[in-house]
Amino acid sequence: MTGFLAAILVMSVGALLLGAALGYAAIRFKVEGDPLSEQINAFLPQTQCGQCGYPGCKPYAEAIARGEAAINLCPPGGDDGVRKIADFLGREFVPIQGGGEGGGPKPKVVALIREDRCIGCTLCIQACPVDAIVGAARQMHTVMTSLCTGCELCVKPCPVDCIDLNSVPETLTDWKWPCPVLADGNCPAGGNPF
C-alpha cells in the first residue's frame, strides 16, 4: 500500500516540477514575433506590390500563417514560389492566380519615368514601397533601377501618366543556358524524373 502511494507521490512531484520548469521556460524563453510568418515571408519575392490583396509581403505572410489567405496569390513569385510555400507548410500545390501567361511568374519589369513629362508632384515617391524613386517637389523624379521591384504601385498615382513599366532586357552577364529540349519538343517540367 505504501509503495503504491509512494509511486503516486513521486509521479505527482515529478509532474509538478516538470510543469513548473515548462511554465518558467515558456515565459523566460518566449519567442518574440511570429516565426512562422517570418519563414513564409522569406519565400515571398518582396516586391511589396500588393497584388495579393495585402499591403505588402509581410502582411500576406502573416495572413498565410494565420490560415486566412491562400498560398497562390503572389504573381511575382510564380508557381515556383507557391511550390516553396506548399512544401514548407506541407500543403497541396495550387497553381498561381493571375500572373503571367501559363501560370509562370510575371516577366520582371522596371519602372521608368518619362522625365520630360514629370511635373514633380511627388505622388509616386510616396507610393513606392521600397523608396526607389528620388526627387523633390517641382523637381524631376527618377527611378533607381537597381532598387525597383516592378510592383507597379507608382503607375496609378501619377497624375500625368508618365511612368512606364519596361521589361528588363537580357544581357550577356545575366544570360543563362536554357533547359534541354526533349524529343517531344518540351522541356522537362520538373517533378519526379523517374
Binding site: 497624375p159 537580357e170 550577356l172 545575366d174 520538373g190
Partner: protein, 572 residues
C-alpha cells in the same frame, strides 16, 4: 561505354611530390575520344587576311569590361589602345590593325545566346601601320610594374577562360612551388597550341622565362600530351637551347588532362580542394600561348591583337590561321572552305565548345578553334531515359555523380544539387560522351547552374527590398509619432495662450478691446488659409482622376497635399 582511367591513384592526395618529376599521377575517369587532330595538325600557321570590318568587343577578359577611349571617326594605329582596363581584374583592348573607327555600339558576340555587347568597329586602311613598339626592360622593373604593363598590353589567359594574366601572376607572386605551362590541348580537333609549339617554341620558352623570373618557382613544368611528338621535340630543343632548367613533361593522352585541376593532379599528384585555387597549393598554371603573347608584349612591345585559330571539322582545307582579333567568324571559316552540308559553327572544341548562332560575331581572345558542324560529323543523338548504368560516374574526372545531378536538375530541385557538388562540375562533357542513353548531361548542368545563379541574385534583391520596405515603414511610423507629439505641444501652447488672452480680456474688458481685435485679425487669416489647404487636400483625395484634365491644377493641389498634413491638421 565508359573507359576506365589508367591505373589507380598512385599517391594519396595532399602529400608532397618529389622535387624532380620522376613519375606522373593519374586522375579518376576521363575518356579517349577520337582526336581528329590529324586533319589540321600538319597545316602550318598562316596569316589570315584582314576583313573589311573588324568588330572588337570591349569585354574580352574575365572581370570588368574595358572603357572605350576612342571616338567614332578617330584614326587608330595597329596596336593602339581602344579600350582601357577599368579595374584591377580587367585588361586593355587594342586595335588589331590601322584604320578608322566606324562605330562604337553593341554588336553580336561569339556566345551561344548571340546577344550583343559594346564593341569598337574598325574599317582597316590596309596599311598596317604600327604604333611605336618598344621592348619593355622588364628585368629592371618591379613585379608590380610588370603586371601593370601586362594589363596595358591586354594579356589574358588564352586557354579559354581569358582571365587577366597579371591578376594570376600577382596572386602567385609569393610561394609558387610549381609553375605549370599547359600545352596539353586535350580537346579533339584543336591544334593551334600544337602548331604554335612546333613553329615558335623558342619564343614560348622565352615567355616562360619571363614568368619564371617573376614567380621564382622551384620547378617549371611544360605539360604536353604524348600525341604531339613534334611539339614535344621542338619544345625540348628550345628549352635546351635556352639552357633553362624547365622540364617538358609528356603526359598521357586522356581527355580532360588539359583541364587545370586534372593537369595539376597528373603532374604533382595533388588535388585542389573545392572552392580553392591552385595558388593556395603553391601551383600556378598558364597556357603556352599566353607565355608566347607575354614574350611578344614585353620583348617586342606588341599588345595582344592576334591569335592562332584552328579551322576544322566539315571543311575542305582545315588549317591554323593567325587571325586578327575582331575578324568575323563566318569570314574566317570561309578560308577553310566549309562543305555544303555544314549546318553550324562551334567555337572551341566539340566537348566544351559552344554553338554560335551568329556568323557575324568576331574572333575574340578566347577563340581557339572553329569547327564546321555537319550531321555526318556530329550525328543527332536523341535523348532516351536513364538506365542507371553508372557509366557517367565512372567517367567523371571530378569524381561527381552525374546521374544524381541529372535527376535533381531535371526535377528542378536545385537546392538539392549543392549536396552533390554541382559547382565542382567543370562541364568537360565526359559523362554525356559515355552516356548510352544519349542524355545531354552537361546541358542539364549548365541549365541548373544558371538557374541557381539567378535565384541567388533574386534572393539578394528580395532581401534588399524587404529591408528597404521595413525601414520605410519604420520611418513612417516615427514621423507620425513625431508629428503627433508636435501637434499636441502646439495645441497645448495655443490653449494656454487663449486662456491667457481670455483672462486678460475679462480683467480689462473695455480698455483692451483693440488688443483683442488684433489677435482675432491675426488669427483669422491664418485659420482661413488652413481651411483652404484642407479643402484642397479633400479635393485632391476625392478627385484623383479629374486632376488629369487640367495640367496646371495638379501642381497646386498636390503641393497642398504634400505639405498638407502639417498645415492642415491644426485646422481639423
Amino acid at each position: 561505354m565508359a573507359l576506365p582511367g589508367p591505373g589507380g591513384r598512385q599517391l594519396p592526395c595532399g602529400r608532397k611530390p618529389f622535387l624532380m618529376l620522376s613519375r606522373l599521377f593519374s586522375f579518376q575517369g576521363g575518356i579517349h575520344p577520337d582526336s581528329h587532330k590529324q586533319e589540321s595538325r600538319d597545316a602550318p600557321i598562316r596569316q589570315a587576311p584582314l576583313p573589311e570590318r573588324l568588330t572588337i568587343p570591349l569585354a574580352q577578359s574575365a572581370g570588368k569590361t574595358a572603357r572605350p577611349v576612342v571616338a567614332v571617326g578617330d584614326k587608330v594605329l595597329k596596336g593602339e589602345r581602344i579600350g582601357a582596363a577599368d579595374d584591377w581584374i580587367s585588361a586593355s583592348v587594342h586595335a588589331s590593325t590601322s584604320g578608322r573607327v566606324l562605330d562604337i555600339a553593341p554588336c553580336p558576340m561569339p556566345h551561344p545566346s548571340g546577344l550583343a555587347a559594346l564593341s569598337v568597329v574598325i574599317e582597316p586602311d590596309g596599311e598596317e601601320r604600327w604604333i611605336e613598339r618598344e621592348p619593355v626592360a622588364y628585368e629592371k622593373l618591379s613585379p608590380e610594374e610588370v603586371f601593370r604593363c601586362l594589363q596595358e598590353f591586354g594579356i589574358v589567359g588564352l586557354g579559354g577562360a581569358v582571365f587577366p594574366s597579371h591578376v594570376k601572376l600577382k596572386a602567385a607572386l609569393r610561394a609558387t612551388e610549381d609553375l605549370i605551362l599547359n600545352g596539353a590541348e586535350c580537346e579533339p580537333f584543336i591544334t593551334c597550341d600544337d602548331r604554335l609549339m612546333q613553329e615558335r617554341a623558342g619564343e614560348i620558352v622565352s615567355g616562360i622565362g619571363i614568368l619564371a623570373d617573376l614567380l621564382q618557382p622551384r620547378r617549371v613544368l611544360i605539360a604536353i600530351e604524348e600525341n604531339k611528338p613534334e611539339a614535344i621535340r621542338a619544345m625540348r630543343d628550345a628549352v635546351q637551347a635556352a639552357d633553362k632548367g624547365f622540364r617538358v613533361a609528356v603526359i598521357p593522352t586522356i581527355y580532360p588532362t588539359g583541364s587545370l585541376k586534372q593537369l595539376i593532379r597528373v603532374l604533382t599528384g595533388r588535388e585542389i580542394p573545392a572552392r580553392q585555387l591552385p595558388t593556395d597549393l603553391g601551383v600556378q598554371c598558364f597556357n603556352i600561348a599566353t607565355a608566347f603573347s607575354i614574350w611578344r608584349a614585353l620583348h617586342h612591345g606588341e599588345p595582344l591583337i592576334r591569335r592562332v585559330v584552328t579551322l576544322t571539322g566539315n571543311v575542305a582545307r582545315p588549317g591554323n590561321w593567325e587571325t586578327a582579333i575582331g575578324t568575323p567568324i563566318g569570314e574566317l571559316l570561309a578560308l577553310a572552305e566549309p562543305r555544303d552540308d555544314t549546318d553550324g559553327i562551334i567555337m572551341g572544341g566539340p566537348m566544351m565548345g559552344t554553338p554560335l548562332p551568329e556568323q557575324k560575331a568576331p574572333i575574340i581572345k578566347a577563340s581557339n578553334c572553329l569547327i564546321a558542324r555537319s550531321p555526318a560529323l556530329f550525328p543527332p543523338r536523341p535523348e532516351m531515359p536513364c538506365i542507371r548504368c553508372g557509366s557517367c560516374a565512372r567517367a567523371c574526372p571530378q569524381e561527381l555523380q552525374p546521374y544524381e545531378l541529372y535527376w535533381w536538375s531535371r526535377a528542378r530541385q536545385f537546392e538539392r544539387l549543392a549536396d552533390y557538388h554541382l559547382q565542382d562540375c567543370i562541364e568537360c562533357g565526359c559523362c554525356a560522351y559515355v552516356c548510352p542513353a544519349n542524355i545531354p548531361l552537361v546541358q542539364y548542368f549548365r541549365f541548373a547552374k544558371g538557374e541557381i545563379r539567378v535565384r541567388a541574385r533574386e534572393e539578394k534583391n528580395a532581401e534588399q527590398a524587404r529591408e528597404r520596405f521595413e525601414f520605410r515603414q519604420f520611418r513612417e511610423a516615427r514621423e507620425k509619432a513625431e508629428k503627433a507629439e508636435k501637434l499636441a505641444k502646439a495645441a497645448a501652447a495655443q490653449a494656454a495662450k487663449l486662456a491667457e488672452a481670455r483672462e486678460k480680456a475679462e480683467k480689462t474688458a473695455p480698455d483692451a478691446a483693440p488688443a483683442s481685435a488684433t489677435t482675432t485679425t491675426a488669427a483669422s487669416p491664418e485659420e482661413a488659409g488652413k481651411a483652404a489647404v484642407a479643402a484642397a487636400v479633400a479635393r485632391a483625395h476625392a478627385e484623383p482622376v479629374a486632376q488629369e484634365t487640367s495640367p496646371a491644377a495638379p501642381t497646386q493641389e498636390t503641393e497642398a497635399r504634400v505639405s498638407g498634413p502639417e498645415k492642415a491638421a491644426p485646422a481639423s
